[in-house]
Symmetry: C2
Subunit: 118 residues, 2 copies
């Protein structure tokens, strides 16, 4: 039960698309992650997807819709079942929340759900 400084946690790794768990909220992982480039399109059939941009700017591509821009201090929830792709031209730091055991790649097969804890 400690205060968690998100910038300090983010300073501990430099990899992209590699969420690190910083806290537990009920049965969810609270994670920090760095985005740069683009992730594959995917969806989560049984959970919403929580994004809060801490630093920088990202685009959220939504299948069949115009992309949304999300900048520091803004959040975006992708409802369950919606096909989406986060994307960032420059490095963007994000707080993620997902139920424990959910792969961050949803139904895409690129990234295993390793999610180290820091």
């Amino acid at each position: 039960m400690n205060t968690i400084n998100l910038a300090e946690k983010l300073s501990r790794f430099s990899s992209h698309w590699d969420p690190h768990v910083v806290a537990d909220y009920n049965d969810n992982d609270v994670m920090v992650v760095k985005f740069q480039g683009e992730f594959p399109f995917h969806k989560h059939d049984a959970t919403d997807d929580f994004f809060l941009v801490l630093d920088g700017e990202m685009q959220m591509d939504i299948e069949g819709e115009d992309p949304r821009t999300v900048t520091a201090g803004e959040m975006f929830i992708v409802p369950q079942g919606v096909v989406h792709r986060p994307r960032a031209e420059n490095e963007c730091k994000v707080l993620l929340i997902e139920p424990k055991g959910e792969p961050n790649s949803g139904d895409a097969d690129r990234v295993p759900a390793k999610k180290p804890r820091i």
Copy 2:
């Protein structure tokens, strides 16, 4: 499915200890709130309590322990069942997450769970 600017949401009200719902994440309310002064000690028997400070500084008093300071960019999770009291000398802006239907006062009886949506 829109980008949610937290500072803009916070600009819409001035009351303290009055969480406003800005988004849904699974069966949780995602809320913004302004703290000033002190809340009653309380606990949530069946849920963790999620705090992320967006602006300013708060203290988290924990029964039987030293108080924790939580400043902008820092988060604090109070595990279920732990008696706690948020407190802020000056106005502090916070992101909260709680399961829908949970009173933000937990087992204390001061504040009804109204939680307007903005």
